[in-house]
């Protein structure tokens, strides 16, 4: 992974929509939070747009800790999107 990229992770039905469990993208200028990433990710495919269409049903983690749309993102980070959890 280059110094300017971030890793994206998707789980459960979001992974099925995006067609990938992980992908790496270059972090564009001006992207400083998870929320800033969303328009870029929705443009990647129709499946991405569907997966990320209703953020009320999506949870976010940055570097494996829960965050939200305001959580800062910088190069080298791992940003995960997933549905509310259903273990136990």
């Amino acid at each position: 992974m280059s110094q300017t990229s971030i890793t994206l992770r998707y789980f459960a039905w979001m992974r099925e929509h995006t067609g990938a469990d992980a992908e790496t993208i270059d972090l564009p200028d001006g992207v400083t939070s998870v929320g800033d990433l969303l328009p870029l990710l929705r443009d990647r495919s129709a499946g991405h747009a569907l997966a990320l269409s209703n953020m009320r049903t999506v949870r976010v983690a940055v570097n494996r800790a829960y965050g939200d749309l305001d959580t800062p993102v910088s190069a080298g980070d791992e940003v995960a999107f997933f549905p509310p959890v259903t273990g136990g």
Binding site: A12, F82, P83, V85, T86, G87
Partner: protein, 160 residues
């Protein structure tokens, strides 16, 4: 402190004995299992997915919170992943303490937070079709009952 995420089954006798110690007066064990065909949901199997790395971190955080809150001697959390058939064991929470109340309450606390915070997802097989399980508001409500300062969600006060 012990957290394990694994595909293989676990033996509650082995796990219970592993928590025994001179200072322990009671061990509470909760085992979650896959509800089967004879229940109203008709599930024949389920597949559990998780977020390696984050899962263990969340379980360790929940365990540490429980150990801060109650006088626990030892705790074990085991959660299975992969495909499980109806009737199989999914999760074990075992808490050992000098006295029973801490063991009971801490086990419930750990399960309530595990259900809402640990990144696992279940896909159920029913009539040959697979569907993702949706999170339940009742699980969030069960967790949120712990956010006041009482020792137990069902009781007021913090007595022994």
């Amino acid at each position: 402190m012990s957290v394990r995420v694994q595909t293989e089954d676990f033996d509650i006798g082995v796990e219970s004995r592993a928590l025994q110690a001179d200072s322990v007066g009671g061990i509470a064990l909760f085992v979650g299992t896959v509800r089967g065909l004879s229940s109203d949901n008709g599930v024949t199997a389920m597949t559990l997915e998780h977020y390696p790395g984050m899962t263990e971190g969340e379980l360790e955080r929940i365990e540490a919170d429980a150990m801060d809150r109650w006088p626990l001697e030892r705790v074990t959390i085991i959660h299975r992943v992969g495909r499980l058939l109806a009737g199989e064991q999914i999760v074990l929470v075992a808490t050992a303490s000098a006295h029973r109340q801490a063991a009971f309450d801490a086990a419930q606390f750990i399960m309530d937070f595990l259900k809402t915070d640990a990144p696992f997802w279940k896909a159920e097989e029913r009539d040959g079709k697979t569907s993702w399980v949706e999170a339940r508001d009742s699980d969030t409500a069960a967790r949120d009952k712990w956010h006041d300062d009482s020792a137990s969600p069902s009781r007021s006060g913090s007595g022994d």
